[in-house]
Assembly symmetry: C2
Homo-oligomer: 108 residues x 2
DNA sequence: CTTAATAAGTAGATTCGCTACATGTTGCCG
DNA sequence: CGGCAACATGTAGCGAATCTACTTATTAAG
């Protein structure tokens, strides 16, 4: 999967994996990998800046903790983040319709 | 629809509209607008550079003509472009699966 | 003792869609 | 006739986000 394809779609995906329960960065990476069937293996240079960006934007809130001698920064969805996620899902559906209307995939 | 969302998905969409018959730039814009149900209204500063990029990459070939006093540059798919389009469609399907696996849209 | 896994981060490059601008034609409306 | 919408193509430069490559540190397994 090309890198650019992800552009603009990563944010809602990150928000989605912390929807049910708060997770720290590394766990978010693993969750994305698992939910995508192994396709979405983000480099740390992508994920961590994205998390800080989402926090700065007010969609995530973070908290430090130490588990087994390792420092973790755990992120949870804010209420603004919830709204953002909801509208992100909606936008995805529109986007999908647009692309498929133009691409007509399925036929060779 | 956010601008970034398009990244990496525009190329196959452009190739798709010239799949059936060659079109000139302006007509490609209209075709995209129509097939997307009015959602995909590309600025010329996006489309024309994209077309030149796709031609430089060997996926499109162009030819000038004059119709009704207006100059047109008509683009058609090359065989490399056909292959690119086919793989683009395939990649779209993968991408869709990935996003929906992570996002789980549909549920609030 | 060394490597893999866990955990978090930064710096800098690249890419591409965008805004804004530039140019010129045809045809319609008043 | 004058002006504007539609037709038609293009460039320059900006900005944002993902990437590569690197850094630091701990724990557990071999």
């Amino acid at each position: 999967m090309k890198a650019d394809a992800l552009r603009g779609h990563l944010d809602p995906m990150i928000l989605a994996v912390v929807e049910d329960q708060p997770l720290h960065g590394y766990a978010i990476m693993e969750a994305l990998l698992e939910r995508s069937g192994g396709e979405l293996d983000l480099p740390t240079g992508t994920l961590y800046p994205a998390l800080r960006r989402l926090e700065r934007a007010g969609y995530l809130a973070s908290e430090w903790s130490t588990v087994g001698g390792r420092k973790r920064r755990t992120y949870q969805l804010t209420s603004a983040g919830q709204k953002m996620l909801a509208s992100g899902k909606q936008e995805w559906l529109t986007f999908r319709t647009v692309v498929e209307g133009v691409l007509r995939p399925g036929q060779a």
